[in-house]
Protein backbone atom coordinates (compact mmCIF):
# COMPACT_ATOMS: atom_id res chain seq x y z
CA UNK A 1 0.00 0.00 0.00
CA UNK A 2 2.63 2.45 1.05
CA UNK A 3 4.69 1.65 -1.96
CA UNK A 4 1.85 2.28 -4.27
CA UNK A 5 1.18 5.66 -2.79
CA UNK A 6 4.79 6.61 -3.20
CA UNK A 7 4.76 5.51 -6.77
CA UNK A 8 1.71 7.56 -7.53
CA UNK A 9 3.16 10.69 -6.02
CA UNK A 10 6.51 10.46 -7.73
CA UNK A 11 5.67 9.01 -11.10
CA UNK A 12 4.87 11.74 -13.55
CA UNK A 13 4.25 9.47 -16.43
CA UNK A 14 2.15 7.09 -14.39
CA UNK A 15 -1.28 6.34 -15.71
CA UNK A 16 -4.07 8.23 -14.10
CA UNK A 17 -6.32 5.67 -12.62
CA UNK A 18 -9.94 6.35 -11.89
CA UNK A 19 -10.36 6.21 -8.19
CA UNK A 20 -12.13 3.03 -7.32
CA UNK A 21 -15.19 3.77 -5.26
CA UNK A 22 -16.18 1.30 -2.71
CA UNK A 23 -19.10 -0.77 -3.90
CA UNK A 24 -20.26 -1.34 -0.39
CA UNK A 25 -23.55 0.15 0.63
CA UNK A 26 -24.50 0.46 4.23
CA UNK A 27 -27.42 -1.92 4.53
CA UNK A 28 -28.25 -1.16 8.14
CA UNK A 29 -31.26 1.11 7.44
CA UNK A 30 -32.57 -1.41 4.96
CA UNK A 31 -32.39 -4.16 7.54
CA UNK A 32 -34.11 -1.87 10.03
CA UNK A 33 -36.93 -1.27 7.63
CA UNK A 34 -37.24 -4.94 6.74
CA UNK A 35 -37.51 -5.95 10.37
CA UNK A 36 -40.04 -3.27 11.06
CA UNK A 37 -42.21 -4.59 8.24
CA UNK A 38 -41.72 -8.18 9.39
CA UNK A 39 -42.92 -7.25 12.84
CA UNK A 40 -45.93 -5.51 11.39
CA UNK A 41 -46.95 -8.41 9.18
CA UNK A 42 -46.30 -10.99 11.87
CA UNK A 43 -48.51 -9.21 14.34
CA UNK A 44 -51.30 -8.50 11.90
CA UNK A 45 -51.47 -12.07 10.65
CA UNK A 46 -51.55 -13.71 14.06
CA UNK A 47 -53.80 -11.15 15.66
CA UNK A 48 -56.23 -11.05 12.77
CA UNK A 49 -57.60 -14.43 13.77
CA UNK A 50 -60.32 -13.84 16.30
CA UNK A 51 -60.97 -16.09 19.26
CA UNK A 52 -64.12 -18.09 19.31
CA UNK A 53 -66.27 -19.57 22.01
CA UNK A 54 -68.12 -22.69 20.92
CA UNK A 55 -71.76 -22.86 21.96
CA UNK A 56 -74.07 -25.83 21.78
CA UNK A 57 -77.76 -25.14 22.09
CA UNK A 58 -80.25 -27.73 23.29
CA UNK A 59 -82.27 -29.37 20.57
CA UNK A 60 -85.72 -28.04 19.88
CA UNK A 61 -87.58 -31.31 20.07
CA UNK A 62 -86.66 -32.98 23.29
CA UNK A 63 -87.87 -36.49 23.77
CA UNK A 64 -89.42 -36.40 27.21
CA UNK A 65 -88.82 -40.08 27.79
CA UNK A 66 -85.12 -39.99 27.14
CA UNK A 67 -84.56 -36.65 28.85
CA UNK A 68 -82.96 -37.07 32.24
CA UNK A 69 -84.38 -35.23 35.19
CA UNK A 70 -81.93 -33.28 37.30
CA UNK A 71 -82.21 -33.10 41.04
CA UNK A 72 -83.37 -29.76 42.33
CA UNK A 73 -80.47 -29.43 44.72
CA UNK A 74 -77.99 -29.67 41.86
CA UNK A 75 -79.42 -26.76 39.95
CA UNK A 76 -78.44 -23.14 40.03
CA UNK A 77 -80.45 -20.76 37.90
CA UNK A 78 -78.93 -17.48 36.80
CA UNK A 79 -81.14 -14.75 35.47
CA UNK A 80 -79.23 -12.04 33.69
CA UNK A 81 -80.86 -8.72 34.35
CA UNK A 82 -80.38 -5.09 33.40
CA UNK A 83 -77.35 -2.99 34.36
CA UNK A 84 -74.99 -5.99 34.58
CA UNK A 85 -76.84 -7.59 37.46
CA UNK A 86 -77.33 -11.32 37.90
CA UNK A 87 -80.26 -12.71 39.86
CA UNK A 88 -79.89 -16.27 40.97
CA UNK A 89 -81.74 -18.92 42.89
CA UNK A 90 -81.08 -22.52 43.81
CA UNK A 91 -83.50 -25.35 43.25
CA UNK A 92 -87.15 -24.49 42.86
CA UNK A 93 -89.40 -25.39 45.75
CA UNK A 94 -87.82 -23.13 48.36
CA UNK A 95 -86.01 -20.84 45.99
CA UNK A 96 -84.58 -17.66 47.44
CA UNK A 97 -83.75 -14.85 45.09
CA UNK A 98 -80.42 -13.11 45.41
CA UNK A 99 -78.42 -10.89 43.13
CA UNK A 100 -74.78 -10.33 42.36
CA UNK A 101 -72.53 -8.96 39.63
CA UNK A 102 -70.14 -10.48 37.07
CA UNK A 103 -66.94 -9.81 39.00
CA UNK A 104 -64.65 -12.50 40.37
CA UNK A 105 -65.97 -11.83 43.84
CA UNK A 106 -69.57 -11.97 42.70
CA UNK A 107 -70.85 -14.60 40.33
CA UNK A 108 -67.76 -16.80 40.48
CA UNK A 109 -68.02 -17.09 44.24
CA UNK A 110 -71.69 -17.98 44.01
CA UNK A 111 -70.99 -20.76 41.52
CA UNK A 112 -67.99 -22.15 43.39
CA UNK A 113 -69.90 -22.05 46.65
CA UNK A 114 -72.79 -23.98 45.13
CA UNK A 115 -70.36 -26.38 43.51
CA UNK A 116 -68.79 -27.16 46.88
CA UNK A 117 -72.16 -27.89 48.41
CA UNK A 118 -73.16 -30.11 45.49
CA UNK A 119 -69.88 -31.98 45.83
CA UNK A 120 -70.55 -32.82 49.46
CA UNK A 121 -73.86 -34.41 48.59
CA UNK A 122 -73.01 -35.86 45.19
CA UNK A 123 -69.36 -36.79 44.67
CA UNK A 124 -67.75 -35.53 41.49
CA UNK A 125 -67.80 -37.81 38.53
CA UNK A 126 -64.36 -39.11 37.70
CA UNK A 127 -63.44 -39.39 34.05
CA UNK A 128 -60.23 -40.00 32.24
CA UNK A 129 -59.29 -37.61 29.54
CA UNK A 130 -59.30 -39.56 26.28
CA UNK A 131 -56.20 -37.94 24.92
CA UNK A 132 -53.93 -37.49 27.90
CA UNK A 133 -55.32 -40.17 30.20
CA UNK A 134 -55.39 -37.58 32.93
CA UNK A 135 -58.04 -37.98 35.61
CA UNK A 136 -60.57 -35.19 35.64
CA UNK A 137 -63.40 -34.45 37.98
CA UNK A 138 -66.71 -33.20 36.76
CA UNK A 139 -69.18 -31.61 39.08
CA UNK A 140 -72.75 -32.85 38.96
CA UNK A 141 -74.00 -29.33 39.27
CA UNK A 142 -76.14 -27.88 36.49
CA UNK A 143 -76.46 -24.22 35.71
CA UNK A 144 -79.36 -22.73 33.80
CA UNK A 145 -78.70 -19.35 32.24
CA UNK A 146 -81.76 -17.28 31.52
CA UNK A 147 -81.21 -13.80 30.14
CA UNK A 148 -83.99 -11.25 30.50
CA UNK A 149 -84.73 -8.83 27.69
CA UNK A 150 -82.69 -6.14 29.44
CA UNK A 151 -79.50 -8.17 29.36
CA UNK A 152 -76.86 -7.34 26.83
CA UNK A 153 -74.78 -9.70 24.74
CA UNK A 154 -71.70 -9.21 26.89
CA UNK A 155 -73.59 -10.61 29.88
CA UNK A 156 -74.22 -13.91 28.14
CA UNK A 157 -70.60 -14.25 27.10
CA UNK A 158 -69.53 -13.39 30.65
CA UNK A 159 -71.85 -16.02 32.07
CA UNK A 160 -70.53 -18.66 29.66
CA UNK A 161 -67.05 -17.59 30.58
CA UNK A 162 -67.69 -18.14 34.28
CA UNK A 163 -68.83 -21.67 33.46
CA UNK A 164 -65.51 -22.31 31.85
CA UNK A 165 -63.51 -20.72 34.65
CA UNK A 166 -65.34 -22.62 37.37
CA UNK A 167 -65.24 -25.81 35.30
CA UNK A 168 -68.97 -26.41 35.24
CA UNK A 169 -69.71 -28.75 32.36
CA UNK A 170 -73.47 -28.91 32.27
CA UNK A 171 -75.00 -25.53 31.59
CA UNK A 172 -77.69 -24.42 29.24
CA UNK A 173 -79.09 -21.21 27.82
CA UNK A 174 -82.85 -21.11 28.17
CA UNK A 175 -85.71 -18.73 27.70
CA UNK A 176 -86.88 -16.98 30.84
CA UNK A 177 -90.46 -17.65 31.91
CA UNK A 178 -93.07 -15.16 33.08
CA UNK A 179 -93.10 -16.81 36.49
CA UNK A 180 -89.44 -16.07 36.97
CA UNK A 181 -89.82 -12.48 35.83
CA UNK A 182 -92.53 -12.14 38.43
CA UNK A 183 -90.17 -13.71 40.97
CA UNK A 184 -87.52 -11.06 40.28
CA UNK A 185 -90.06 -8.30 40.82
CA UNK A 186 -91.51 -9.85 43.93
CA UNK A 187 -88.93 -12.12 45.62
CA UNK A 188 -91.06 -12.53 48.75
CA UNK A 189 -93.78 -14.23 46.73
CA UNK A 190 -91.62 -17.29 46.14
CA UNK A 191 -91.40 -19.31 42.97
CA UNK A 192 -94.34 -21.54 42.25
CA UNK A 193 -93.06 -23.44 39.27
CA UNK A 194 -94.43 -26.91 38.65
CA UNK A 195 -92.67 -29.54 36.57
CA UNK A 196 -95.22 -29.25 33.76
CA UNK A 197 -94.79 -25.53 33.64
CA UNK A 198 -91.04 -25.88 33.46
CA UNK A 199 -91.30 -28.26 30.53
CA UNK A 200 -93.69 -25.89 28.82
CA UNK A 201 -91.39 -22.93 29.44
CA UNK A 202 -88.38 -24.79 28.12
CA UNK A 203 -90.21 -25.64 24.94
CA UNK A 204 -91.05 -22.06 24.10
Amino acid sequence: MAEMQVAEKGGKGGKKRAKKLSTRVDLTPMVDLAFLLITFFMLTTTLAKPNIMPVVMPEKDVDEETAKATKESQVLTLMLGADDKVYYYEGISDAKLDSTDYSAEGLRKVILDKKDRVRQQFPDEEKEDEKTGEKKYYSKMSVIIKPTKDARYKNIVDAFDEMKITNVVSYVLLEISDKELEFIKNPAGGLDFSVEEQVQAAKQ
Binding site: T45, V55, K60, P147, T148, D150
Partner: protein, 220 residues
Protein backbone atom coordinates in the same frame (compact mmCIF):
# COMPACT_ATOMS: atom_id res chain seq x y z
CA UNK B 1 10.71 -3.05 21.83
CA UNK B 2 7.83 -1.43 20.12
CA UNK B 3 4.68 -0.95 22.01
CA UNK B 4 2.04 -3.48 21.18
CA UNK B 5 -0.86 -1.59 19.79
CA UNK B 6 -4.17 -3.33 19.72
CA UNK B 7 -5.39 -3.68 16.21
CA UNK B 8 -8.36 -1.53 15.51
CA UNK B 9 -11.00 -3.47 13.81
CA UNK B 10 -13.49 -1.97 11.47
CA UNK B 11 -16.76 -1.48 13.38
CA UNK B 12 -18.97 -1.96 10.35
CA UNK B 13 -20.48 -5.38 9.91
CA UNK B 14 -21.53 -6.80 6.62
CA UNK B 15 -25.28 -6.47 6.65
CA UNK B 16 -25.92 -8.22 3.36
CA UNK B 17 -26.67 -11.60 4.86
CA UNK B 18 -28.96 -10.15 7.48
CA UNK B 19 -30.72 -8.14 4.82
CA UNK B 20 -31.25 -11.27 2.76
CA UNK B 21 -32.76 -13.15 5.67
CA UNK B 22 -35.01 -10.34 6.76
CA UNK B 23 -36.37 -9.80 3.29
CA UNK B 24 -36.96 -13.48 2.87
CA UNK B 25 -39.01 -13.47 6.05
CA UNK B 26 -40.76 -10.31 4.99
CA UNK B 27 -41.78 -11.87 1.69
CA UNK B 28 -43.07 -14.91 3.51
CA UNK B 29 -45.21 -12.87 5.89
CA UNK B 30 -46.56 -10.64 3.15
CA UNK B 31 -47.59 -13.64 1.09
CA UNK B 32 -49.21 -15.48 3.97
CA UNK B 33 -51.00 -12.40 5.28
CA UNK B 34 -54.67 -12.29 4.54
CA UNK B 35 -56.28 -8.98 3.90
CA UNK B 36 -58.85 -8.26 6.55
CA UNK B 37 -62.21 -8.20 4.81
CA UNK B 38 -64.23 -5.03 5.07
CA UNK B 39 -66.86 -5.23 7.76
CA UNK B 40 -70.41 -4.16 7.06
CA UNK B 41 -70.60 -2.58 10.45
CA UNK B 42 -68.06 -2.10 13.19
CA UNK B 43 -68.75 -4.13 16.29
CA UNK B 44 -66.89 -4.23 19.55
CA UNK B 45 -66.89 -7.86 20.61
CA UNK B 46 -66.89 -8.85 24.28
CA UNK B 47 -63.87 -10.51 25.82
CA UNK B 48 -63.65 -14.07 27.06
CA UNK B 49 -61.00 -16.46 28.31
CA UNK B 50 -61.56 -18.77 25.35
CA UNK B 51 -58.31 -19.57 23.58
CA UNK B 52 -59.81 -21.36 20.60
CA UNK B 53 -58.93 -19.71 17.33
CA UNK B 54 -61.29 -19.36 14.42
CA UNK B 55 -60.69 -22.38 12.19
CA UNK B 56 -59.41 -21.92 8.67
CA UNK B 57 -62.42 -23.72 7.25
CA UNK B 58 -65.15 -21.76 5.53
CA UNK B 59 -67.05 -19.50 7.85
CA UNK B 60 -70.53 -18.09 7.67
CA UNK B 61 -70.59 -15.00 9.83
CA UNK B 62 -73.70 -13.50 11.35
CA UNK B 63 -73.02 -9.99 12.43
CA UNK B 64 -75.39 -8.36 14.89
CA UNK B 65 -74.88 -4.63 15.28
CA UNK B 66 -75.51 -2.55 18.37
CA UNK B 67 -78.94 -1.65 17.02
CA UNK B 68 -79.79 -5.28 16.42
CA UNK B 69 -79.43 -5.23 12.63
CA UNK B 70 -78.28 -8.54 11.20
CA UNK B 71 -75.65 -8.82 8.48
CA UNK B 72 -74.59 -11.97 6.74
CA UNK B 73 -71.22 -12.80 5.29
CA UNK B 74 -69.78 -16.02 3.95
CA UNK B 75 -66.49 -16.92 2.37
CA UNK B 76 -66.00 -18.76 -0.88
CA UNK B 77 -66.57 -17.23 -4.26
CA UNK B 78 -67.88 -20.45 -5.78
CA UNK B 79 -70.36 -21.05 -3.01
CA UNK B 80 -71.62 -17.49 -3.23
CA UNK B 81 -72.04 -17.78 -6.98
CA UNK B 82 -74.00 -21.00 -6.62
CA UNK B 83 -76.07 -19.54 -3.79
CA UNK B 84 -77.06 -16.38 -5.64
CA UNK B 85 -77.96 -18.40 -8.75
CA UNK B 86 -80.29 -20.55 -6.69
CA UNK B 87 -81.77 -17.63 -4.78
CA UNK B 88 -82.30 -15.68 -7.98
CA UNK B 89 -84.20 -18.54 -9.56
CA UNK B 90 -86.34 -19.41 -6.56
CA UNK B 91 -87.18 -15.92 -5.35
CA UNK B 92 -87.07 -14.10 -8.72
CA UNK B 93 -84.69 -11.40 -7.58
CA UNK B 94 -84.19 -10.31 -11.20
CA UNK B 95 -80.43 -10.16 -11.03
CA UNK B 96 -78.28 -9.95 -14.14
CA UNK B 97 -75.14 -12.03 -14.60
CA UNK B 98 -73.04 -8.99 -13.76
CA UNK B 99 -74.90 -8.46 -10.50
CA UNK B 100 -74.50 -12.11 -9.61
CA UNK B 101 -70.79 -11.83 -10.19
CA UNK B 102 -70.72 -8.77 -7.96
CA UNK B 103 -72.45 -10.74 -5.24
CA UNK B 104 -69.95 -13.56 -5.47
CA UNK B 105 -67.03 -11.23 -4.75
CA UNK B 106 -68.81 -8.86 -2.36
CA UNK B 107 -68.52 -9.00 1.39
CA UNK B 108 -71.20 -9.00 4.04
CA UNK B 109 -74.63 -7.64 3.28
CA UNK B 110 -77.55 -6.55 5.38
CA UNK B 111 -80.42 -5.71 3.08
CA UNK B 112 -83.78 -7.38 2.57
CA UNK B 113 -84.08 -9.60 -0.48
CA UNK B 114 -86.07 -6.97 -2.35
CA UNK B 115 -83.32 -4.41 -1.92
CA UNK B 116 -80.47 -6.69 -2.92
CA UNK B 117 -80.48 -5.62 -6.59
CA UNK B 118 -80.12 -1.97 -5.67
CA UNK B 119 -77.39 -2.80 -3.16
CA UNK B 120 -75.42 -4.76 -5.73
CA UNK B 121 -75.69 -1.96 -8.29
CA UNK B 122 -74.26 0.53 -5.83
CA UNK B 123 -70.52 1.12 -5.66
CA UNK B 124 -68.71 0.23 -2.42
CA UNK B 125 -68.68 3.85 -1.29
CA UNK B 126 -72.35 4.26 -2.03
CA UNK B 127 -73.05 1.08 -0.08
CA UNK B 128 -71.45 2.61 2.99
CA UNK B 129 -73.77 5.56 2.73
CA UNK B 130 -76.82 3.38 2.13
CA UNK B 131 -78.92 2.77 5.14
CA UNK B 132 -78.73 -0.98 5.48
CA UNK B 133 -81.67 -2.16 7.47
CA UNK B 134 -80.38 -5.63 8.19
CA UNK B 135 -81.75 -8.95 7.00
CA UNK B 136 -85.36 -9.37 8.12
CA UNK B 137 -86.19 -12.13 10.56
CA UNK B 138 -89.61 -13.63 10.93
CA UNK B 139 -89.75 -15.00 14.44
CA UNK B 140 -93.06 -16.76 13.96
CA UNK B 141 -92.74 -18.59 10.66
CA UNK B 142 -89.26 -19.84 9.95
CA UNK B 143 -90.12 -20.43 6.30
CA UNK B 144 -90.82 -16.75 5.83
CA UNK B 145 -87.70 -15.64 7.67
CA UNK B 146 -85.23 -14.28 5.15
CA UNK B 147 -82.28 -14.86 7.45
CA UNK B 148 -83.21 -18.49 7.96
CA UNK B 149 -83.53 -18.97 4.19
CA UNK B 150 -80.18 -17.36 3.52
CA UNK B 151 -78.35 -19.46 6.11
CA UNK B 152 -80.06 -22.66 5.08
CA UNK B 153 -79.42 -22.05 1.38
CA UNK B 154 -75.82 -21.02 2.00
CA UNK B 155 -75.15 -24.22 3.89
CA UNK B 156 -76.73 -26.25 1.11
CA UNK B 157 -74.62 -24.38 -1.44
CA UNK B 158 -71.46 -25.09 0.51
CA UNK B 159 -72.49 -28.73 0.81
CA UNK B 160 -72.99 -28.90 -2.95
CA UNK B 161 -69.58 -27.31 -3.52
CA UNK B 162 -68.04 -29.84 -1.17
CA UNK B 163 -69.62 -32.61 -3.16
CA UNK B 164 -68.16 -31.16 -6.31
CA UNK B 165 -64.78 -30.96 -4.64
CA UNK B 166 -64.42 -27.19 -4.88
CA UNK B 167 -64.23 -26.69 -1.14
CA UNK B 168 -63.10 -29.09 1.56
CA UNK B 169 -65.21 -28.11 4.56
CA UNK B 170 -68.74 -27.30 5.45
CA UNK B 171 -69.55 -23.91 6.89
CA UNK B 172 -68.68 -23.11 10.46
CA UNK B 173 -71.38 -20.78 11.78
CA UNK B 174 -69.98 -17.80 13.61
CA UNK B 175 -71.97 -15.23 15.55
CA UNK B 176 -70.39 -11.86 16.04
CA UNK B 177 -72.22 -9.29 18.08
CA UNK B 178 -71.40 -6.07 19.84
CA UNK B 179 -71.08 -6.32 23.58
CA UNK B 180 -73.88 -3.80 23.97
CA UNK B 181 -76.27 -5.57 21.62
CA UNK B 182 -79.50 -6.14 23.55
CA UNK B 183 -80.27 -9.78 24.26
CA UNK B 184 -83.57 -9.92 22.32
CA UNK B 185 -81.70 -9.13 19.08
CA UNK B 186 -79.21 -11.92 19.74
CA UNK B 187 -82.01 -14.22 20.79
CA UNK B 188 -83.81 -13.75 17.46
CA UNK B 189 -80.67 -14.85 15.62
CA UNK B 190 -79.99 -17.80 17.93
CA UNK B 191 -83.62 -18.92 17.61
CA UNK B 192 -83.36 -18.69 13.83
CA UNK B 193 -80.32 -20.95 13.98
CA UNK B 194 -81.93 -23.52 16.23
CA UNK B 195 -85.07 -23.43 14.06
CA UNK B 196 -83.07 -24.65 11.10
CA UNK B 197 -81.30 -27.22 13.28
CA UNK B 198 -78.02 -25.38 13.67
CA UNK B 199 -77.37 -26.12 17.31
CA UNK B 200 -73.62 -25.68 17.24
CA UNK B 201 -72.12 -22.33 16.52
CA UNK B 202 -69.35 -20.09 17.75
CA UNK B 203 -69.30 -16.69 19.37
CA UNK B 204 -66.49 -14.37 18.39
CA UNK B 205 -64.74 -12.86 21.36
CA UNK B 206 -61.55 -11.00 22.08
CA UNK B 207 -58.91 -12.38 24.36
CA UNK B 208 -58.91 -12.00 28.10
CA UNK B 209 -56.61 -13.49 30.74
CA UNK B 210 -57.76 -16.76 32.28
CA UNK B 211 -57.89 -16.16 36.04
CA UNK B 212 -57.06 -19.81 36.79
CA UNK B 213 -53.90 -19.63 34.75
CA UNK B 214 -52.99 -16.20 36.11
CA UNK B 215 -53.26 -17.54 39.64
CA UNK B 216 -51.07 -20.48 38.72
CA UNK B 217 -48.42 -18.12 37.41
CA UNK B 218 -48.56 -15.99 40.51
CA UNK B 219 -48.26 -19.11 42.60
CA UNK B 220 -51.54 -18.83 44.41
Amino acid sequence: MPKHKPKRSNPTIDMTAMCDVSFLLLTFFILTAKARPAESVIVDTPSSISQTKLPDAGTLTLLVSKEGKVFLDMVGQHTRKYLIDEMNNDYSLGLTDEEKLKFSIAGGFGVPRAGLKKWLDASPTERNEMDESGIPIDTVDVNKSELATWIHRARLAQFEMKKQGVVSDEYVIVLKADKDTPYPAVKRVINTLTDINVNKFNLITTMEGDPNKLNAIEGK
